[in-house]
Symmetry: none
Subunit: 413 residues, 2 copies
Amino acid sequence: MRAEILSCGTELLLGHITDTNATYLAQNLSVLGIDLYHVSQVGDNLERIVESLRQGWERSQLIIMTGGLGPTEDDLSREAISTLLGETMTLVPELEANLRARFARQGATMPERNLKQATLIPSAQALPNPEGSAPGWFVEKDGRIIVAMPGVPREMYVMWEQQVIPRLQKYIQGIIFTRILRVYGLGESSVEERLQSLLSSTNPTIATYVKNDGINVRITAKATTKDAAAQQVAEMEQRARALLGTYIFGVEDDTLASVTGKALQARGQTLSVMESLTGGLLASAITDFQSSSKHFIGGIVSYSTELKIQMGVPRETVERYGVISAETAVAMARAVREQLKTDFGIGITGVAGPDRQEDKPVGTVHIAVCGPEGVVTVLGPGWRGRRADNKRHAVLAALNLLRYYLEGTVKPE
Amino acid sequence: MRAEILSCGTELLLGHITDTNATYLAQNLSVLGIDLYHVSQVGDNLERIVESLRQGWERSQLIIMTGGLGPTEDDLSREAISTLLGETMTLVPELEANLRARFARQGATMPERNLKQATLIPSAQALPNPEGSAPGWFVEKDGRIIVAMPGVPREMYVMWEQQVIPRLQKYIQGIIFTRILRVYGLGESSVEERLQSLLSSTNPTIATYVKNDGINVRITAKATTKDAAAQQVAEMEQRARALLGTYIFGVEDDTLASVTGKALQARGQTLSVMESLTGGLLASAITDFQSSSKHFIGGIVSYSTELKIQMGVPRETVERYGVISAETAVAMARAVREQLKTDFGIGITGVAGPDRQEDKPVGTVHIAVCGPEGVVTVLGPGWRGRRADNKRHAVLAALNLLRYYLEGTVKPE
């Protein structure tokens, strides 16, 4: 099956946003074994969208559109598909009721212009959108498929996974089974170096890609039954695990926060944090894990030195070693563990940028984890980059240090 | 002048990389006043690259290619341009000497396959590449221009700025000026409803799009001088401001955190927060603003009820009204303001999900801002969605309440 992607939105052509939807879909199509030969971006112009669709219709069996499903006059994907196919959009009472109910739940009245989000053409099925107001369209006609999804990435991801992939399954020969291994602590090229002997395998395939919080290793097998595909994937996973060892922290949707959270909950232990460099992002990452209230008691964002001292960090430690020091990170971890009466405490201090602090360069970060068996520390890498990236990297390093402590990979002193 | 971008590389179609080059070039073209109607990505396949170039040749005056200038068999941009124009690539002695000298400087011998990087066709000029081995091509023929640049972003940026823009200058008519207004508190369709009378304007244009933290309203004008374009934009901005009022919180890259941070710093006032629902994300958002250490003293992530009480929330308030209540939010704001000795304190409590709490539905959120003139509160909307979205929405609502307090839009009690 030959596919193409058509992303709609003038904001793409003005460079106000980057088409990361196309990247996500390209990765997915590759895993599904669907050939992708063309990706294009077009502005909110009916004529040009129709022209692009017509071209896609001639050369591909599957056209995946994102964007242009909003309620405004600039949102033209439905109109373009209708024009291409010569079909008329009509209001669907059930979709209208859903839409009005959605607004009502938010205590709002639906603007009349949103009504076009409740329309369909005869060749289209509606794709539910649990994350937003715009349903997608799944159009089948003359041996061709057009899928139209919202441009908002989180809405698109859910619709693609829950609604589109199942509908495409019958066009894909064989069953695809995929397993994701999650890796932290190695760059993508180092992961590939370690996996070198496996990368040339064609079934299962093994491939790496970068995520915000580590590297994903994706193992995909195609077979006639799900069990056979799963078995092939399991064998490859074992070989990959032998090569990557403790750098693998989880599978599928695991995060460093969920993995450490589950481990603490299994032991019946609790956690607290005191952070300055990361400014609350460590606590926020920990609480992104759904059941975090079972093990996470709380955090102190000690942005000022006085607050650190108020919360139990000895003034002497700060004065002697500086705020940006391993000693202060340890004192923060100890202090919050004692003040909040938890089994584990994490302390993070460092320079988030843009300016140096205590003559230490931007990106310097000291992390300490204090637990029942003692303390472990790590000096973050001297990365550079934007402030938000520095914060994110420090949070990951801290959670990984906690993971190593819990797994026994590092020994506390 | 009408332009299009053609990015070459199979890695784009596999989703291994995202086409950020297109974003960069799109932004640049917009500033230069060059219309960009099409962006496409195509794999390393001669036939498909030529087909895409031919289409571009028919509908645009300027085709900007990136990628495909490397030394391997997969690098086909030069070959595709030559095929399209029916011209023959010949080795240019001067380019060959440069290339060999470059390898020699690095103590290496040039592989023979790199020789194709020293070729030109009669219609092409070479564009020097100080960052890499592949010169670009600037092709002028029959009133059309094709620019071919390397895909490596840092090589492309330098070549574009130093070599391509000066060569394009003679073709550019008029200057583009753009202004972004940032809006919080209205959905995109409500923003458009208010701006209805302005949306049909063609110069300046006004358009809306959704960002993670609000709606952007983009005003763009084209004129013969920058001053004239800026003047047109300023007039349109004034009309938009009259229609959107205090929903506009800033311009360009402003965030609710930067706007409130700057306002507090201008007054010489300080801020602290106590948050449970948002789990540290409020503090993290505040500290994403670069100079936040000037006004932000710190935060308490009081995930457990006991920690709230330990930090100064009266046990009686929690027991009488529940943790999920406006009264507790006010008590949190008051407590942190007093404990951390700041001018303003923010309290957030609510149900982040996935389960109900105190029989209150997921998404319930109570926010309080306590300052020198008293307290203001807001009840967040009963949104649904993923945990991370609930947290993000609550953070934005809290920062916006602080903004309204500082601007005098809401009156404290």
